[in-house]
C-alpha cells in the first residue's frame, strides 16, 4: 500500500498536471468548492422565487424543481454533455459540464430547503418587519433569510456533502477527477483494487467529514449565545 501511495500520490493529487489538465483530488476539491460557491446564491434565488406570490415567478421555478428532482443526476450529466453542445453549437468541456450540472442540481435542492425554511417561519416575522416599513426584499434579506439559513443549516450541509460525492459522476464523461484517477491507477497496478478504492473512499470521507465538522463548529458558534441564556 505504501509503495502504491509512493508511486502514484502526485497523479492521485493533481492528475496529469502540469503536462495535462488539472485532475485528481485537486480537481475534485476545486469542483466541489466551485459548485458550493455558485449553488448557494443560485439556490437562494430559486428558493425565494419559489415562495413568491407572483405566479409568473413561482411557477417556472416550481416546474424546474420538479423536473430536476425527478431525473437522476447521471442523466442530467449526459444531457448537458451531449445535448447542450448540439443545441448551442458550443462544445463544453468536461469540467465545465460537471460544474454546470452540479450547480443546477444543487441549486434546485437548496431552493427546496430555503423555500421550506421560509414557509415554516412564523408569519409574524415577515409581518412585523413589513409593519416597520421595511420592503419585502429588505424583510427577506434582514429578517427572514438569516433565520431560515440558520434553521436550515443541517439540511444545507448534508446537501453540500452530497455535492462533493456527486463530483465522482464526472467519471462517466471522462473527467479526470479523483475517482477517475483512482480507476486509472487500478488499471495500471491491476492487483491492488482493494487498496486503491480504500484510499479513494478514505479521501471522500475526509472531505465530507471535514465539511460537516466545519458546519458543526459554525452551528455551535451561532447557538452559543442561546446556550448561555439557558445556563
Amino acid at each position: 500500500m505504501l509503495e502504491l501511495i509512493d508511486t502514484y500520490w502526485l497523479y492521485f493529487l493533481v492528475g496529469q498536471y502540469p503536462e495535462g489538465p488539472l485532475g485528481g483530488l485537486a480537481l475534485t476539491v476545486l469542483l466541489s468548492f466551485g459548485a458550493l460557491l455558485l449553488a448557494m446564491p443560485f439556490g437562494l434565488l430559486l428558493g425565494v422565487a419559489r415562495v413568491s406570490n407572483r405566479r409568473a415567478v413561482a411557477w417556472p421555478v416550481a416546474a424546474l424543481v420538479q423536473l430536476v428532482r425527478a431525473v437522476p443526476l447521471l442523466l442530467v450529466v449526459f444531457w448537458v454533455y451531449f445535448f447542450l453542445p448540439a443545441v448551442t453549437g458550443v462544445k463544453t468541456g468536461q469540467a465545465t459540464t460537471m460544474l454546470m450540472v452540479l450547480v443546477l442540481f444543487d441549486g434546485v435542492y437548496l431552493a427546496e430547503i430555503v423555500a421550506a425554511g421560509i414557509r415554516s417561519l412564523p408569519k409574524g416575522q415577515l409581518e412585523s418587519a413589513r409593519s416597520l416599513g421595511l420592503s419585502y426584499s429588505q424583510a427577506l434579506r434582514l429578517v427572514v433569510l438569516p433565520q431560515t439559513l440558520r434553521n436550515g443549516l443541517p439540511s444545507i450541509v448534508s446537501q453540500l456533502v452530497s455535492t462533493i460525492k456527486a463530483t465522482s459522476l464526472g467519471y462517466i464523461i471522462g473527467l479526470s477527477e479523483v475517482s477517475f484517477i483512482a480507476t486509472q491507477v487500478n488499471t495500471l497496478v491491476f492487483t491492488q483494487a482493494v487498496e486503491v478504492y480504500l484510499i479513494l473512499a478514505l479521501t471522500y470521507f475526509l472531505l465530507c467529514f471535514g465539511l460537516s465538522q466545519l458546519a458543526l463548529l459554525l452551528e455551535r458558534r451561532l447557538n452559543r449565545r442561546a446556550a448561555q441564556a439557558s445556563s
Partner: protein, 242 residues
Amino acid sequence: MIVLDKVNKFYGDYHALVDVSERVGKNEVVVVCGPSGSGKSTLIRTLNRLEEIDGGSIAIDGRDIHEKGVDVDALRAGIGFVFQHFNLFPHLTVLENCTLAPVKLKRATPAEAREYAMQLLERVGLAHKRDAYPNELSGGQQQRVAIARALAMRPPIMLFDEPTSALDPEMVGEVLQVMRSLAIEGMTMVCVTHEMGFAREVADRIVFMSEGRILERATPEEFFTNPQTPRAQQFLADRRRD
C-alpha cells in the same frame, strides 16, 4: 387623523367587516373591544394595510391609504404596530431589534438610532437588556421591547393588536404601564384589548364591535355604566365574571 368610511372586508363568503365607519382624532386613544371573531383585529390590521379592504375607504391625514399607488412601506413606517405575539426578531439583540428599521430605512445614522433606541429602552425599563436576545426575555419584557422597536421609527400613530393577550397575568401590568405613559404623552393610539381596566382609565373613546360591525361608540364612563345594546351588556357581564 384616521377616517374610516364604510369599510367592508370579506374572507371568501365571510363578511369580516361590515360598513365600518369611524374617526380617530389626533392625540386620541381609542380602545376597540368586543367578543372574539368580532373583527377587531382585522379592523386594526387594515389601518396599516396588513389586511386589504374590499370596499369603502380609510384615510390617514386626508390620504386614502388603500388607493392604488400608495407607498405602503412609507405608510407603515409612520404607524407603529404592536402584535399579540411580540414578533421580535430572534436573531438580533434587543438593541438591534430597535435600530434595524431606522438604520435600514435611513431615518437615522447607526449612532443616532442606537442613542434613541437606548432612550426608548430606558423608558420601557429594559436598557440593561440591550445586548440580550429575545428568547432570553420574559413575555412582558419582549412586548415592551416590541413597543420600543415600534417607537424607534418615531411614528405619530401607534396600533396595538391585543398586546397583552399572550402574556401571563403578572406581566400584563408592566406592558399596560408603558401604554398608559404613551397615552398620557398624547400619542394617537388605537388599541384592541380585553383589558377593561386599561380601557376605562386611558381611553378617550370605546368602540364596541360584534360580528364585523361597530355596535357602540361611547366614552368609557358611558360604555361601562350604561351599555346600550344587549350584546355589549352581555360582553361586559362576561368580562366581570372573569
